[in-house]
Amino acid sequence: MPSFKLDDKDIDFLPGDTIIRAAQRAGVDVPHYCWHPGLSVAANCRMCLVELMPPPGRPAMLLDVLAWDDLHQTYVPQKKPKLQPACQQAAADGMVVKSQTSEHAVRARSAVQELLLLNHPVDCPICDQAGECRLQDYWLEHQASKKRMKDEPIHKPKGVVFGPTIVYDAERCIMCTRCVRVSAELANDPVLSMRERGNLNEITVAPGRQLDHGYTLMTEYVCPVGALTSSDFRFKARVWFLRSARSTCVGCATGCSSYTDFDPRNQKVYRYRPRENAAVNKYWMCDDGMLDYQRIHQGRVLEARIQGEGVSDAVALEKAADLIKQASPQKTAILLSAEHSNEDNQALLDFGKALGALQLYYSGRPQGQGDDVLKSADKNPNTAGVLALSGGRAKPFTDLVAALKEGKVGVLVALGSAIGNPNDAGALKDLKNFVALSTHDGPLADHAAVVLPASSWAEVDGTFVNRTGLRQESDRAINPQGASRPAFRWVQELAKLLTLTLPWKKASELRSLSQGADVSASSPSAPPPGGE
């Protein structure tokens, strides 16, 4: 394995790696602002400058500079090595690189940091980036001194609205062009560019346009300072109060890895952030996914209901058990949900099996727009999982509508909140024995006789299978809200009331059972839940 030395540490690298990339793989941080592993190299911040020792037999590349001699109070000529940006310098076998052990590199970093802060506004108390800001961290590590400029800092526009999701502050911007590159390379929409020159530089949107492509929040995510802020998250929470859970986005079937940031004191989720996953989403998430966290707190069913009226859990369970007993197994239908995790669906499957229910269907959210970057047209996180668990036996919702019309359904036990085609909701109106385990208000919760509030994905650990068949676990963030419980716990209670035995008792047993399903059995030709 070819390797180079960084500060007397051997770093292995893959062919084509730059010094900074190889160092990052090895867990060593070379300070940087404008470099990002998922974007092209710009090398404009000059923070990652390192000293390269000359190869054996070659003279060092030295520059003639003037150094201030304090003793003689005059400038004296001196030679200083030319420093190279680690983000652009390709690694070579046997290279000797000095980062922290080189006094030139240390001085250069301190100088770069000082220059970046020269005109920076004193905004930390009101800046959203405080607590996760590279300027703050690197100042303490690399500069730790005052700036020498005595003039008034330059003033530039603040609070410039770039688009429906992003607000720009030109004074805080360090012109690293990460946002420009994200828009051009990730979203294929080069709408941002830099304007003016010198210290009047600012980022600007193309004339007549807005920053409105599908990945605008990624520009905020890559911005190392507080120049680009999300108008959704602005001023809502301070990041040091937030804790992160390693979760999976449930906005569509891509299943990007994410962090769910929540405040444990008031049990609220404040935002998502992308989590690095080379197999699924690399470093990115789309806007729809990033803003999907709002669904955790909006439109939720938080108390048990009978005919739309709030009741206590025990009363609702009794009524639900009553309703389920009303029909024979041939006329009992189970509706799985592609919105819910494998554990929830497995629980309902086992329940159905214990009841002897013969009719099995699945539903989910309606289809949407996909693109060729990250988004999938199937807006359900677990379609593949549901089909695999049911062994391909679950039929689409349209079949349930047909069965309802023909009167073949006496009892329906449904999991989920949404159905593929809102026009089909009318078919549910006349069904009397309808029990729904829902997280949100929607056609299922509205038409059900008994609604049991289920906990959302952020309140329970769950496993989701994405469109390529990859099984991903999502950790829970907050406690179950209101009176909601995980759907499988409701199923357990119902089974107890109906004296049915389920093959699992503890949640961990349920998880291992649901993992036994062969994911490859989900046939790609099965229709997605939204219908054709």
């Binding site: 004193v122 930390c124 703050q136 100042w139 730790a144 005052k146 700036k147």
Partner: protein, 404 residues
Amino acid sequence: MEPLDQELESSELELPTEPMLLNVGPAHPAMHGTVRIVMELSGEIIERCDVQVGYLHRGFEKMCERGNWSQVFPYVDRCNYVSPMLNNVGFALACEKLLGITVPERCQWYRMILGELARMSDHLTCDGAMAMELGAFTPFLWMIKGREMVWEIMEEETGARLTHSFGRVGGMAAPPTDGFKEHTRAVVQHILTIIDEVERLLLGNRIFLDRLENVGVISAADAVSLGWTGPCLRATGIPYDVRKAHPYLKYGEVDFDVPVGTTSDSYDRFMVRLAEMRQSARIIEQCLERMADKGPVNVDDPRVVLPPKEEVYGSIEGTIQHFKIIMEGLKLPAGEVYSYTEGGNGELGFYLVSDGSGTPHRVRIRPPCFLITAGLERVITGQMMADVVPSFGSLNMIGGECDR
């Protein structure tokens, strides 16, 4: 009631002969706060006793693990709460030892002066309380008046009379005020007069001497084995003072004596404290002379010390420095250190374990009077019940430090 003119055999009297169990409960005026002694008395003599502490246990060491290093200062203040400055300085020195920084000279003198003032206030309280418990109320009030004057200086300098949390890692919270030197000189003179008057009142009093001499004796070997330090150990004749044996701050550059006792009874402990106050006054005088009137009090390291407020509001670097130190806390390097100073009661040690993040992994406060109270059993067993009062008083058990 038997008639008085009849001679009775002692065997005819029905007197109980088993020892009496007396509970000198935690809420007792002579128990210096909250110590419970369960004693078995045979008449007046204590046959056995069980000293139970812990009624003031507030869980400091656990609480320290939940915040930053700078947030430990209010906790250590409330340990030995009669001489809080000594605790502050001790902890600050421990953190600075772990960081490897030394505060500027002016700060060292300042810390010494405030520390010795705190020591004087500690000894004034202890000796005053001892006198009061034996019935001499006047010297107590005089000494408390002296303590009030010390607290007035503290209020002037730090803003609080008792729990000032004034120490910081890398310096102090604020520089000395302008009138500090004159104020301190005046107060020290006054306290020396008070000590003279108290001596004249008490040391010739027959009752006072009888209640203290040869009461509460402990041998030097026992004291060393028990881990005693400070005035209680020095009263046994062993001249161990951390300021002389392992000088810290500028104690190596000032002249002072270490008073040592001979008979190791309560009287010696009383006198050692009285003499130490005079030595503290000597130290303060020398420090006041040598402390510069101008100059920085905090070390010049932005990782450790907060910037002045004009910079916080005026420049981005000041804001960032303020932000990082307050929000993320001081980051002491990973490692462990044991640092010790002379507290009011003896060797006050801090054993700090840091894991490199801003949160302490373990803050162990080695409380001098915990071990001294462990010796209380040995001191009062075999003594009379009434001797518990001056013996216990002379040990100067401070509940806050013993129980933390």
